[in-house]
């Protein structure tokens, strides 16, 4: 599903976030990226979603070569990837269901079908009674669940999450992680960047440690 081959990412100014990474992630895997901040976790996720391009090396996602992907093809790649952000990136000028329906609008879904699917996924993350609320009135944990609902509504084969529990207290974090385990069980590939050790031990899964731009497998 994802394959890094000698991938290096150097930012303008010379900082090398990732150096010579070799890594393969199979379909249906649950992968945790750990390492302290600045170790390159976010960069790795950004490369997979084509938000950043590799400086050198070959990166393939769902059979597409990210280094050579044209500007026009990027949106279609992203429609198959669900993104969960630490800062949620919700839109506060519209209510909960409009936030979730946005990816389906973008993909050109029929409005009624889109609303039906949005409602189903909002139900799954437990926000059905807040459907008409403005996201700004939601708690941090609820906002994160809303962000996850938006990432999942188009049923992506791959879900990338950058510090999904970073700002949450333990109870909420456990909820979110349990949710991820459910998605993993129905076959979604998940790559989760986190420094939250509690989550990792609870879920199992493959663990990769990033340090100084290098990646290594952690055997628990």
């Amino acid at each position: 599903m994802i394959s890094f081959s000698q991938v290096t990412k150097r930012y303008p100014g010379g900082h090398e976030a990732l150096s010579n990474i070799n890594l393969t992630i199979e379909q249906g895997e649950l992968v945790f990226l750990i390492g302290h901040s600045g170790a390159g976790k976010s960069t790795l996720l950004k490369l997979i979603a084509a938000i950043e391009r590799p400086t050198s090396g070959a990166l393939t996602v769902s059979g597409q070569n990210i280094s050579r992907l044209s500007h026009r093809a990027v949106p279609y790649l992203r429609r198959n990837i669900g993104l969960v952000f630490q800062d949620h990136k919700l839109l506060f000028d519209r209510n909960v269901i409009e936030n979730v329906v946005l990816p389906l609008d973008i993909a050109g879904f029929d409005r009624r079908e889109a609303l039906k699917r949005a409602r189903a996924v909002i139900d799954k993350v437990g926000l059905l009674n807040r459907e008409k609320a403005n996201p700004i009135s939601l708690s941090g944990g609820e906002q994160q669940r809303l962000c996850i609902a938006r990432a999942l509504v188009s049923r992506p084969a791959l879900l990338l999450a950058d510090e999904p529990t970073g700002n949450l207290d333990a109870g909420y974090a456990a909820d979110i992680m349990a949710m991820f385990r459910d998605f993993h069980q129905v076959g979604t590939t998940l790559v989760i960047a986190t420094h939250d050790d509690r989550a990792i031990t609870a879920l199992g899964g493959r663990i990769l440690r990033l340090e100084h731009g290098k990646v290594e497998e952690v055997t628990a």
Partner: protein, 302 residues
């Protein structure tokens, strides 16, 4: 195709929602556009009415036909028959005696004419053609000049030519003004849309992250620009209607003083449609330029 239609509809409704959400900004932009557009279109209307006035005036172009002294009766009849053709509105025969009498009384030249032993003036026709266009008049005048028995023709079209020349300068002015204000329209629209893009930066970035194409992002803004242009055109219509309403009575009064039935005429529906179409087009164009530029900036600061 269905998806495309859905996207268009979605973009249109979202643009309408944005216009409604900011009534004051929408109104101000529409007014700025309306005032800009009303200048060239008002001038156009004024020229249009002036042109009509020129056509209505009694001082229509005339052709004078001077006949040979030794013209035969047959030739005379042929000329008279020619002057009954449909391209001639009116023709009046002026015998040389009548012409001399008119000359002596009108120009107060009786001293000179009294000294003449014989009438030096030729018989003549004063012809008023139906056409007003200069080329047409020249053509008729030349064809009449070739008739046997006609010594000379004189086309009295100076007045019409001068007016046409003045109107044509006016028309050129209208097009120049229209061009300038079209640029102003594009700039106003572009500026309004640029502000919109900056306000909606977050939405644009999030939409991109979840798979929106540039076209999808651009579309509502372009609709917004086009709608704004349309509103500007309507505002211009309002400004002109107000001006016409104010001017109607004074113009009527002035025309009555001159004994004319002249009235201000509003633009035709096709002219209105053209103005609205053009303002929509230029609003669209300004939005397109602006949003394409702004999207590039949003991208580079990602």
């Amino acid at each position: 195709m269905i998806g495309w239609m859905r996207h268009q509809k979605h973009a249109l409704t979202s643009a309408l929602r944005r216009l409604r959400a900011q009534p004051v900004a929408t109104l101000l932009t529409a007014l700025a556009m309306g005032v800009a557009i009303s200048l060239p279109s008002g001038l156009y209307l004024m020229l249009d009415n002036l042109n009509r006035l020129a056509g209505d005036l009694p001082a229509q172009p005339e052709i004078s036909l001077f006949l040979d002294a030794g013209i035969s009766p047959a030739q005379n009849q042929a000329i008279a028959a020619r002057l009954k053709q449909p391209d001639i509105a009116q023709a009046r025969h002026v015998p040389k005696d009548e012409a001399l009498a008119a000359l002596s009384s009108a120009q107060d030249l009786s001293d000179i004419t009294a000294g003449l032993t014989e009438n030096p003036l030729p018989d003549a026709w004063v012809v008023r053609p139906k056409a007003h266009a200069r080329e047409e008049l020249t053509r008729i005048s030349e064809s009449l000049g070739k008739l046997p028995g006609v010594a000379e023709t004189h086309l009295d079209s100076q007045w019409a030519e001068r007016l046409q020349a003045a109107l044509s300068i006016g028309r050129t002015g209208v097009w120049m003004l229209a061009g300038l204000f079209a640029i102003a329209l594009v700039a106003i629209s572009g500026n309004a849309i640029r502000a919109q893009v900056l306000v909606r930066r977050d939405e644009i970035q999030v939409s991109r992250l979840i798979g929106a194409t540039d076209r999808y992002i651009r579309r509502p803004f372009i609709y917004l620009g086009a709608l704004q242009g349309l509103l500007g055109g309507l505002a211009a219509g309002g400004v002109l209607a107000l001006a016409g309403w104010q001017l109607h009575t004074p113009v009527e009064h002035l025309a009555n003083l001159y004994g004319s039935a002249f009235r201000l005429l509003p633009p035709s529906s096709s002219e209105i449609a053209v103005v609205l179409g053009l303002t929509t087009l230029f609003g669209w164009l300004g939005a397109w330029i602006s949003v394409t530029r702004a999207l590039r900036q949003v991208e580079s600061t990602r």
